[in-house]
C-alpha cells in the first residue's frame, strides 16, 4: 500500500531518551511512534503540553491518568482529528505534519473509540470490510457492472474478514447488524475493524470499559496475541489497572495535560507522584 509520508530533516533515528522504557527487542529499530514537545491549546486552555513519548515497534504501551488528564486528546492528536498547536509526531520516523486523519490511517495508525463508534446499521462483516477499504482496489464501475474484479476481490475480502473476526471468535456473528451486538462484542468488533486497516500502531481507547473481570482477562490475552500475530505496537488508554499493569511494557502517566511519570509498570506503581495524582496528597503533607 502506498504510504504518503514526507521525511524530516532532523534524524528520526536514535538517540533515545535516557529514560527509555522501550523493550529490549525494539531498541535497535526506529521507534514506530515518537512525539516531540507535542501540545495543543483550545482557545486559552492548554489541553496537552510538552508531550514526549517513544513507542517501540512491538511494544504494548499504556497511557493512564485521572479523568480529564488529556489522554483521549493525545489520541486525537496522533490521528489528526486535532492538528497539534506545537510539536512533532514521527510515525515510523516520518513527520505526519499536515497529514489528515485518512492519510495517517493509510500511513499505519488505527484506533478505537472511548464511546463506541461502529457503523451500526451495517453488518459485522461489512464493518470489517470497511476497515479493508483501502486494501480492496476495484472501483465504482466494476461494482456497478459486476466485473470479475468485483467478485474476485469481494471473495478475498469476505474470507479475510472472517479470518480477522475469528481472532475474537466472532465469525459466527458476521451477518448480524453491528448495532445489535452486545456491548462487549461491539468493543471487540471495533478492534477487529481497526486491525483490518493493516496498521503498524493500534490505539485502543479504554478497550475494557464496561467489561466484567473475566472478559477483561480474555481481552488482555487477546491484545497480547494480536501484538504477537501482527507484530504491531499497541498504545492503550485504560482505567483498569489490572489490565494496564498486566500487559503494558511501558507506561506514561498524564495529569492536567502534562506527563508526570514514565516507566515500567513496577516504576509507576511505586512512584509517589503518580500515587498523589490518583489519590491526592497525604494529610500531613498538605
Amino acid at each position: 500500500m502506498a504510504r504518503k509520508i514526507t521525511s524530516v530533516n532532523d534524524s528520526p533515528l536514535v538517540p533515545m531518551p535516557t529514560n527509555a522504557y522501550i523493550p529490549q527487542r525494539d531498541l535497535d529499530k526506529i521507534p514506530i511512534l515518537e512525539t516531540r514537545h507535542l501540545g495543543i491549546d483550545f482557545g486559552g486552555l492548554t489541553a496537552v503540553e510538552d508531550f514526549n513519548l517513544v513507542i517501540g515497534r512491538t511494544e504494548i504501551a499504556g497511557l493512564i491518568g485521572p479523568n480529564g488528564a488529556g489522554k483521549t486528546t493525545v489520541f486525537n492528536l496522533l490521528t489528526k482529528v486535532y492538528q497539534p498547536t506545537r510539536g512533532t509526531i514521527l510515525l515510523d520516523g516520518h513527520d505526519t505534519h499536515n497529514m489528515t486523519t485518512v492519510q495517517v490511517n493509510k500511513a499505519g495508525i488505527a484506533r478505537t473509540f472511548q464511546n463506541i463508534r461502529l457503523f451500526s446499521n451495517l453488518s459485522v462483516e461489512d464493518n470489517v470490510k470497511l476497515g479493508m477499504h483501502n486494501a480492496i482496489q476495484y472501483g465504482m464501475f466494476s461494482s456497478i457492472l459486476r466485473l470479475p474484479s468485483y467478485w474476485k476481490q469481494e471473495k478475498v475480502a469476505h474470507e479475510r474478514a472472517l479470518e480477522l473476526l475469528s481472532i475474537f471468535d466472532m465469525q459466527d456473528m458476521a451477518g448480524a447488524k453491528a448495532g445489535s451486538l452486545p456491548y462487549g462484542a461491539q468493543r471487540r468488533l471495533e478492534i477487529v475493524r481497526a486491525l483490518a486497516t493493516n496498521p503498524s500502531l493500534l490505539l485502543l481507547d479504554e478497550p475494557a470499559a464496561g467489561m466484567n473481570p473475566s472478559e477483561t482477562t480474555e481481552l488482555m490475552e487477546n491484545i497480547v496475541r494480536i501484538r504477537d500475530m501482527f507484530q504491531i505496537a499497541v498504545l492503550l488508554i485504560e482505567h483498569d489497572m489490572s489490565l494496564v499493569m498486566g500487559i503494558c511494557e511501558g507506561i506514561c502517566v498524564l495529569n492536567f495535560g502534562k506527563v508526570i511519570a514514565k516507566g515500567t509498570p513496577e516504576d509507576i506503581q511505586s512512584n509517589p507522584v503518580v500515587i498523589e495524582a490518583y489519590l491526592g496528597k497525604k494529610k500531613e503533607e498538605a
Binding site: T101, N105, F113, R117, N121, N134, M140, S143
Partner: protein
C-alpha cells in the same frame, strides 16, 4: 453450524430482496402492458405511466442521497430540470441527423444524465462541505437558482448548429437567435420548451427504472456503497479507517443527480410543452415525500410510494375541490399507519419468517 446457515440465509436476504425488486418491476410492466392491450386502461390512465416511471427513478435516486448517504437534499428537482431541458435540446436538434425516435430518446437521456451529473458535481463541491440542515438549505437554494437560470434560456437549432442566448435582462427574444428559415426554436425563455416531440414511451420508462435499479443496488452492495453508508452511520469512524469522505459523498451525490437528469429527459420528452417552473421546490418536496414514506434506504419502498402517491391525486379527482385535502389526509394516515407498532406486530404475525429474523 446453526449460526453459519443463519448467516447464509441473512446474506441471501439482500439478494432475495433485490431479485424481488427487479421481478416486481418486470411483472408490473407485464401487467400494465396486458391491461393496455386489453383496452382496460383509458387514455388518461395511460398518460400517467411515463410520469410515474420518471418519479420512480427520481425517488430511487434521491434515496441514494437521503437514505444511503444520509444527507438531506431539497434541490433534486433542479437536477431533473437540467436533464429535462438538455435532453429536449439534444432530441430536437438531432431530429434530422438521427431519424430513429428510440435512439434519439436514449441519447437524450444520456445527455440529460451527463449534464445533470456535471451540474451535480459543480453544486456538490461547495455544498458537500456542509452538513445536515445547512446542506438542505443550500441545496434548496441551488434548485431555485437552476430553475431561474433555465427560465432565461433561449435555444434554437438550424443547419448551422445550436444557437443559445442567455436572456438575463429579459430584453432578448426569439428573433435574436437569428435562425435560418429552416431553423427551429427549442426553448423560448420563460415560455419553456414548446413544440417538442413526444418521444417518451412507457417501455423506455421501465428500461430506465431497471437501469437505475442496477446502478443503485449494485453500487450499494459494493466497496463504494459500504463507504457511502459508513459516512451516514459514523463520519468520524469512517475517517479513522481511511475513507475519503468528500470522494464518496460526491460519488453518491453525482450519481443521484445524473439519474435524476435521465428521469428529467424522459419527463421532458413526454410533453410537447415544458415549463422550468414545473421543477420547483414543490417537486423536490414531492419526491422527498416518496422517499420518506417508502422508507429511508429502502429502494423498493421508494418505488411503491412514488407509484401510489403519484396516482392518488388522480384517483381522487372525483372529489373535485376536496382532492388535495383528501390527499393530505391519506398521506397523514399512511404515515401514522406505517409507524404504528400494533400494525407492525400484526404484519409481523402475518409474515412469520420475517418476525423470526427480527428477533
Amino acid at each position: 453450524m446453526g449460526n453459519f446457515t443463519e448467516r447464509l440465509r441473512s446474506m441471501k436476504r439482500t439478494t432475495k430482496v433485490n431479485t424481488a425488486t427487479y421481478a416486481g418491476v418486470v411483472l408490473a410492466w407485464l401487467a400494465v402492458t396486458l391491461l393496455r392491450s386489453g383496452g382496460v386502461l383509458g387514455r388518461s390512465a395511460s398518460g400517467l405511466l411515463v410520469p410515474i416511471c420518471c418519479y420512480i427513478v427520481m425517488a430511487v435516486s434521491l434515496n441514494l442521497t437521503v437514505g444511503i448517504l444520509g444527507e438531506l437534499s431539497l434541490g433534486h428537482a433542479g437536477f431533473m430540470s437540467v436533464g429535462a431541458f438538455s435532453g429536449v435540446i439534444a432530441a430536437m436538434s438531432l431530429t434530422d441527423s438521427i431519424p430513429s425516435p428510440v435512439l434519439r430518446l436514449a441519447i437524450a437521456m444520456v445527455v440529460g444524465a451527463c449534464f445533470a451529473g456535471a451540474v451535480g458535481a459543480l453544486v456538490g463541491i461547495p455544498v458537500l462541505r456542509l452538513r445536515g440542515d445547512y446542506l438542505a438549505i443550500v441545496t434548496l437554494a441551488f434548485g431555485e437558482i437552476l430553475k431561474e437560470l433555465i427560465n432565461c434560456l433561449i435555444v434554437g437549432h438550424d443547419e448551422n448548429g445550436l444557437h443559445i442566448l442567455f436572456n438575463y435582462n429579459g430584453l432578448k427574444n426569439v428573433e435574436d437567435l437569428h435562425l435560418t428559415e429552416r431553423g427551429l426554436v427549442i426553448i423560448k425563455g420563460a415560455q419553456g420548451a414548446t413544440g417538442s416531440q413526444m418521444l417518451a414511451t412507457f417501455n423506455a420508462g421501465v428500461i430506465l427504472i431497471l437501469i437505475t435499479l442496477v446502478i443503485v443496488l449494485n453500487l450499494v452492495n459494493s466497496r463504494s456503497g459500504r463507504a457511502i453508508m459508513s459516512i451516514r452511520d459514523n463520519r468520524i469512524a469512517a475517517e479513522s479507517v481511511g475513507i475519503n469522505i468528500t470522494k464518496y459523498k460526491m460519488m453518491a451525490f453525482v450519481t443521484s443527480a445524473a439519474l435524476a437528469g435521465a428521469a428529467g429527459a424522459l419527463y421532458g420528452l413526454n410533453y410537447s410543452n415544458l415549463l422550468a417552473t414545473k421543477f420547483d421546490f414543490n417537486t423536490s418536496i414531492l419526491v422527498l415525500v416518496f422517499v420518506v414514506l417508502g422508507g429511508l434506504g429502502n429502494i423498493w419502498g421508494s418505488m411503491v410510494a412514488a407509484a401510489v402517491l403519484y396516482v392518488l391525486p388522480e384517483a381522487l379527482r372525483g372529489l373535485d375541490k376536496y382532492r388535495m385535502l383528501m390527499y393530505a389526509v391519506v398521506l397523514i394516515l399512511v404515515m401514522l399507519g406505517t409507524n404504528n407498532p400494533q400494525l407492525k406486530t400484526l404484519f409481523g404475525k402475518l409474515l412469520p419468517r420475517r418476525r423470526e429474523e427480527e428477533v
